[in-house]
Amino acid sequence: MKNRVKITRVMLNMTQGELARQVGVTRQTIGLVEKGEYNPTLQLCVAIAEALNKTLDDLFWEVGKE
């Protein structure tokens, strides 16, 4: 699943490790989510959105699929 987690995280000057610690998963899981190689549960999506101070739409909604 394509998403804007990486670009948002980089804009906030946050490392993968910091985001991982905040949402309670491993750095590898964050890397997989960012690359679109793992589809996170809704619970993890919400945790990531909260940690990055964004909405689910901001991070996970694909423009043009509406």
Partner: protein
Amino acid sequence: MKTWISFLLPDDEYKERSILYFYAEGAILLVIFLLLTIIFSNFIAVDYQLIILIALGIFGLYVVIRYSLSGMEYTEVNSEQAFKKELKLLTTKTTSFTIIFLLLYILLVEYPTRFQDLYDLVGLLCSVALVWFMIGFISLKSSYQKNKKLTD
């Protein structure tokens, strides 16, 4: 989801989901093996103790090999330095296990009086240690390669 198998699963959701798949795949292979055993037991004599050991081996080995190759064991190893550190730790653990097991065996179970007994014990122990180290090394290498691709 509430399930009694939770105690066998890690907290990280990606690892949890992947390991559940490995268990499920291993269980299906186990069922196939047992069905084939039932069919062939009509034609050939079957040693059931051996069949049970093979069945357990199929499940256990499958899960361990899939887990090791998946590269999810060492989630934080993404640099050459971290790789070398973990490799050193793995070597230390394997060596410690071999020495402690050998000492405990000699002290608590049996002191090998013949050279052949000592040779058998050391040979078996070295083989187990080598397999353990190889599985650990494959897992570490897979994890390192996977993490390198995922790290920004």
